[in-house]
């Protein structure tokens, strides 16, 4: 049975969340924003996976993995809607740069 440091995983997922957030805050291309969100989402999934792996009670650990399964499916679905919006936006405005979509403000 392998043993690994719990804290290391937390550090990793935190770092990935940080990278994802950084991307969301700085990127202007909608697709890049989607990618950044996916990175952050993967950090959350990773959390479930390793907390499940380290869970003291097997039944609870199983739950974590199940959640991870569901979330992987969810994240992919979410991307589909995002891409649909990208396409609609692109069709209408010819640009998917979010910095150019600031008509609504104030």
């Amino acid at each position: 049975m392998t043993a690994l440091p719990l804290g290391g995983f937390l550090a990793l997922s935190s770092a990935l969340l940080g990278v994802g957030l950084f991307g969301i805050l700085t990127r202007r291309n909608f697709v890049l924003l989607l990618i950044a969100i996916e990175i952050a989402m993967n950090a959350a999934i990773l959390n479930f996976v390793y907390f499940a792996a380290f869970a003291p009670v097997p039944a609870l650990g199983l739950t974590g993995q199940e959640i991870a399964v569901v979330l992987i499916g969810f994240a992919a679905t979410e991307v589909a809607v995002g891409l649909a919006i990208v396409l609609a936006l692109h069709r209408l405005r010819g640009s998917i740069n979010v910095a150019q979509a600031t008509d609504l403000n104030g």
Binding site: G64, I67, V70, G82, I85, A88, L92, V98
Partner: protein, 530 residues
């Protein structure tokens, strides 16, 4: 448990889902008339609402009950971790969600008849409602978050469903990005909670809230989860998207977002934070010290700060807002602050007050946005100054709108007053620093009077600049040739606005029929149910 066994009590949900599927099927079959799909949707929503009301124990409807009484407010056995349960507060919220959806669905009948996409519109509306209904049943964090996502995804599309409106698509884009970020944060927070407590079941979380093994991890989890849920509830500073989205979305969708889907965030906060809020452990100290730690007051204080900031910022931002929808959006943000007070206090009176505030807000804010839709249909522009003289040109519409604004401002004889009265009474009754919460809330509602009264001033005191532009049909859709009924407003909108206005006054006059069940539901909620 078999599937059949679990689906049994879910009559309203099944009705709504079936209607959504039916609408999609009809779409595929080519039957896309707005009246048809609208009627199906309205019938389904009304049916679901009746069932929910029956389940809540409104006597004349006892025959419609779908829920075995033994299930209602049943506390799950220790060790079992059901994903959803039937608490009466959840049913109350279901009723409110259905009411909001019903109002919007009815009003949407009046959208331009040549506008395409009625099936997808109503289908997504029904699916979003379904997500909301499921939120109200959730007893599991992941179930809750997924149900929220059902609604979220449906509304992302609803905001942009016209496809040809750049503003609406911009709104959808913003909505999506912030929404996706928030859902990510929610799941991340949930994962931390899962790590800290080893469970995602809300009952279990409540039960073990006291034995915090990893207080910092737990607090981080709650904090990030709060940030994620605050998106839906539009708490400051997680609110910024809401204004642009309400502004850019089709008016009926704005009504649905502000009056309906926003409330799932409120109920989610109720569900998630009741546990930590109720947990008090004398001792004090920092979560880092390893010593026993006051989880409850800490969470309460944080929620209270958020509530006050939300109310205040929302109101201040609304003060000089020039556009009607944005003003309503800011007002909606500040109203979220009031609702948050309920869970920050965490007593059953406070939750009852907050729930009534939610109910009030469903009527007021959906109603107000529907009035905006109606006004747009008769050619009133988006700016507040464009509303000059509405009081003389469309007195009934203006009076209904005035009722909604007065209710938002908390003027008596309206439901908005009763809800604030109960909520702040509960805050005062809880004593301690909650009294200051009440003071902050009331001062804020005083501040809000300024901009509501300003709108009333424009509508009633300032003369009309000239005749309305002769224009029938919707602003969003192309100019339709057929004039709408009910004075250009459309019968659907007129009915929805009328119902909202009547309910605002009726509940304002005699709230007991609503308030009594809400109070007992809140008491059940606090006592045992999640």
């Amino acid at each position: 448990m078999s599937f059949a066994g679990t689906v049994g009590p879910l009559v309203p949900e099944v009705i709504v889902l079936a209607a959504a599927l039916l609408v999609f099927l009809l779409d595929v079959a080519g039957a896309r008339r707005r009246e048809l799909v609208g009627a199906i949707s309205i019938a389904a929503l009304a049916g679901a609402l009746l069932v929910v009301l029956a389940d809540l124990g409104f006597l004349p409807l006892a025959a419609l009950r779908g829920l075995p009484p033994s299930v209602l407010n049943a506390v799950p056995a220790a060790g079992s971790a059901p994903l959803y349960t039937f608490g009466s507060l959840g049913l109350v919220f279901q009723g409110l969600f259905l009411l909001a959806a019903l109002l919007v669905a009815t009003a949407s009948l009046s959208r331009a008849s040549d506008e395409r996409g009625a099936p997808i519109y109503y289908g997504l509306l029904l699916l979003a409602t379904l997500g909301m209904l499921l939120v109200a049943l959730a007893s599991d964090l992941i179930f809750l978050l997924l149900a929220i996502e059902v609604t979220s995804l449906a509304t992302y599309v609803l905001v942009g469903y016209t496809r040809r409106d750049a503003r609406a698509l911009e709104a959808a884009m913003k909505f999506y990005i912030v929404g996706a970020l928030s859902s990510t944060l929610s799941f991340f927070g949930a994962s931390l909670l899962f790590g800290a407590y080893g469970t995602t079941n809300l009952y279990a979380l409540r039960a073990v809230a006291g034995s915090v093994g990893y207080p910092v991890l737990a607090l981080l989890g709650y904090g990030i989860l709060l940030a994620g849920l605050a998106f839906k509830t539009t708490l400051v500073p997680f609110h910024a998207w809401a204004v642009d989205v309400y502004d850019g979305a089709p008016h009926e969708v704005s009504a649905f977002l502000a009056g309906g889907t926003k409330k799932i965030g409120v109920f989610a906060l109720f569900l998630v934070f009741l546990g930590p809020v109720l947990y008090v452990k004398a001792g004090g100290g920092s979560p880092f010290s390893g010593a026993p730690f006051d989880l409850g007051p800490t969470v309460q204080l944080t929620l209270a700060v958020l509530a006050v900031v939300t109310m205040t910022v929302g109101n201040v931002l609304a003060l000089l807002q020039a556009e009607m929808k944005r003003m309503l959006a800011y007002s909606s943000i500040s109203q979220a602050g009031y609702m948050l007070i309920g869970i920050a206090i965490g007593t059953s009176p406070a939750l009852a007050g907050a729930t009534l505030q939610v109910a009030a807000h469903v009527l007021m804010k959906s109603g107000a946005f529907l009035v905006v839709a109606a006004a747009a249909a008769i050619g009133v522009g988006p700016k507040i100054v464009d509303w000059q003289g509405l009081g003389t040109r469309r007195p009934w519409l203006a009076v209904a709108f005035a009722l909604m604004l007065l209710s938002l401002a908390g003027v008596p004889l309206t439901v908005g007053f009763v809800s604030k009265f109960v909520l702040f009474s509960a805050a005062v009754q809880a004593r301690g620093f909650f009294v200051w919460l009440a003071v902050a809330g009331l001062l804020n509602s005083a501040l809000s009077v300024f901009y509501y009264a300003r709108v009333l001033k424009v509508i009633f005191f300032e003369p009309a600049p000239g005749p309305l532009p002769a224009r029938a049909g919707d602003v969003v859709g192309a100019a339709g040739p057929t004039p709408l009924g009910a004075g250009g407003i459309g019968y659907g909108r007129a009915v929805a606005i009328g119902v909202a206005a009547v309910l605002i006054v009726a509940i304002g006059l005699y709230p007991q029929p609503i308030l009594g069940p809400i109070q007992s539901a809140a008491a059940h909620f606090v006592a045992g149910g999640a």
